[in-house]
């Protein structure tokens, strides 16, 4: 439990909360990005470099950008404002998640796992990671590759506009 971790964790949490509660959707996505970066830093502190960098690459470089594009394409900028404020809705939702949090924290603190293991001195090696990917987890890796391909094609197909451009120039009336 270091100060660095405290700072990272608090920043990450704060920006996650902001991402879920700000009114301006673009701000939400930007805050979400900050919390993704914060999580990557947590990975680094857990001495898992490659995962941390991959996290930044995938979430900041791809997912956040994708969200922003989706936001702009769906005129998200204009639906910024929560039109109606329904306290009951918020109360129930908030209570549910707070309750879950209480349950989780309680069970974590009571669990025996956290008592008997201290941090082990080990570092994730990229070489080991790669080798286990292609030896141990080859089948999941291939399945994942397939999944990604299918998802890529599927996403492109779903998002394809119903009509094709470019627009043909119209003939002039009476020329």
């Amino acid at each position: 439990m270091t100060t660095v971790f405290c700072i990272t964790a608090l920043t990450t949490l704060a920006s996650a909360v902001a991402a879920m509660s700000l009114r301006n959707l673009v701000h939400c996505v930007l805050c979400l990005t900050v919390s993704f970066i914060g999580m990557a830093m947590v990975y680094l502190q857990l001495s898992s470099q490659f995962v941390g960098f991959a996290q930044v690459m995938v979430y900041v470089g791809a997912v956040a950008i994708l969200m922003i594009f989706a936001l702009l394409m769906t005129r998200g900028g204009q639906e910024l404002f929560m039109r109606e404020w329904r306290p009951m809705h918020w109360l129930v939702g908030g209570l549910v998640s707070l309750a879950l949090l209480a349950v989780l924290v309680g069970s974590i603190l009571q669990s025996p796992v956290i008592q008997n293991t201290g941090p082990v001195d080990k570092v994730e090696r990229v070489k080991d990671l790669g080798q286990s990917l292609v030896y141990e987890y080859l089948l999941p890796l291939e399945a994942l590759a397939l999944l990604l391909t299918v998802a890529l094609i599927g996403a492109a197909l779903i998002a394809l506009p119903p009509k094709q451009y470019p627009i043909k120039p119209q003939p002039r009336e009476n020329s």
């Binding site: 470099q49 490659f50 991959a54 690459m57 900041v60 470089g61 950008i65 702009l72 090696r125």
Partner: protein, 392 residues
């Protein structure tokens, strides 16, 4: 070697004399300061050099008013930029408008921290250094978006969306063409990559067919990634005024400019590390000249190449740019991976060299044939009028 040892000695003396608590911070700062100041100075020099060289290409002198041969032009530019009024549009999102250039600069500068400047001179020795480099580069897209969106200007938004689309699609060939080097070196760490090219020029990866093709692809993708001509579509001044930088002025604009140049330096340094032997001299005899010098020399050669290209080329259209990325760069990069694989599998000898060259040439020939058979790449012949005029 002596140069690197000297630097390390200085640093250790300074750090060891500092109080215990300050040491990590001091150490980090001492690593960062020389890099930042070197690249800051390089930025100033290159802005002048670029204008001079473009001027010469265009049969002009270039800046020659401030100081002898205009060498103080960057200083004058700096003063001008700093004293200019900082105008922020009224409807802009002020905080994001302010943060965007800083974030862009930050991402550009973070990339510099993993480049090996000498055998012992690496700011941060990550095992997955190149992944860090690309991951940080990915955040630049976000900064560009922030700039374009927060300006509340149609040109800025259009420019930033174009920039993002361009950077995202060129990141794929960029990474794929660097993967061939990683395959050959068998590591993700940049200083290992540089070390694997020690010896003479012949052991640089650019001396192999796949390395040459990879280097060309990497450079083209770099041009697109740092928005240099002919891929400067995000800032296409004839269409979009200045793209995402339209609403920036004064200091913030200068920061954008700086970030762009630093990103270019970082990419060039990466290219030099991956393909041109990094800090190694071209001949072992020249090893008495310190490594950082060689890296910067290679970097400058690449920067000059970029300036030369900028002075020559018209700009592609946004959709043609994407077309080029997907129809030429991506297949070529994938084929290059195969050719690298052949080279490695055949024992890195002349047989592998030949096969790799063959694969690359065949692929390049086929792709360029296919691309130049498209309707907008035709060689046309023109006729001259015969017979009667069109009746008026």
């Amino acid at each position: 070697m002596w140069f690197e040892d000297l630097l390390i000695q200085i640093k250790s003396v300074l750090v060891l004399n500092a109080p215990e608590g300050l040491r990590p911070i001091l150490s980090a700062m001492l690593s960062a300061t020389p890099i930042l100041s070197a690249f800051g100075g390089l930025f100033a020099a290159v802005t002048l050099l670029e204008r001079k060289m473009l001027g010469r290409i265009q049969n002009r002198y270039g800046p020659n008013r401030v100081g002898p041969f205009g060498i103080f032009q960057p200083v004058a530019d700096g003063i001008k930029m700093l004293t200019k009024e900082d105008i922020v549009p009224k409807t802009a999102d002020h905080s994001i408008h302010f943060l965007a250039p800083l974030l862009l600069l930050l991402t550009a500068m973070l990339g510099l921290s993993v480049i090996p400047y000498g055998e012992k001179l690496v700011a941060i020795r990550f095992e997955a250094g190149i992944v860090f480099f690309f991951a940080v580069g990915g955040a630049a897209e976000l900064a560009v978006f922030m700039a374009g969106w927060a300006s509340r200007n149609k040109y800025a938004l259009l420019g930033s969306l174009r920039a993002i689309a361009q950077m995202v699609s060129y990141e794929i060939p960029l990474i794929l063409s660097s993967v061939c080097v990683l395959m050959a070196a068998g590591t993700l760490s940049l200083d290992e990559v540089a070390k694997s090219q020690s010896g003479s020029m012949l052991s640089w990866y650019i001396m192999t067919p796949w390395g040459l093709m990879g280097c060309v692809l990497f450079l083209i993708a770099t041009l697109a990634e740092v928005n240099r001509s002919p891929f400067d579509i995000p800032e296409a001044e004839s269409e979009l005024i200045a793209g995402h930088m339209t609403e920036y002025s004064g200091f913030k604009y200068a920061v954008f400019f700086l970030a762009e140049f630093v990103a270019m330096f970082a990419m060039c340094a990466l290219t030099a590390t991956l393909f041109l032997g990094g800090y190694h001299p071209p001949l072992p005899i020249l090893a008495f000249i310190p490594g950082p010098f060689w890296l910067f020399a290679k970097l400058m050669v690449l920067v000059l190449l970029f300036i030369w290209i900028r002075g020559t080329m018209p700009r592609l259209r946004a959709d043609q740019l994407m077309e080029f990325a997907w129809k030429f760069m991506l297949p070529m990069a994938v084929i290059n991976l195969i050719s690298t694989g052949c080279w490695i599998a055949l024992g890195r000898g002349s047989l592998g060299w030949g096969l790799s060259a063959l694969i690359n040439l065949a692929a390049y020939g086929a792709l360029s044939r296919w691309l130049s058979s498209r309707p907008n790449q035709q060689k046309r012949t023109y006729r001259f009028a015969e017979g009667p005029m069109h009746a008026a």
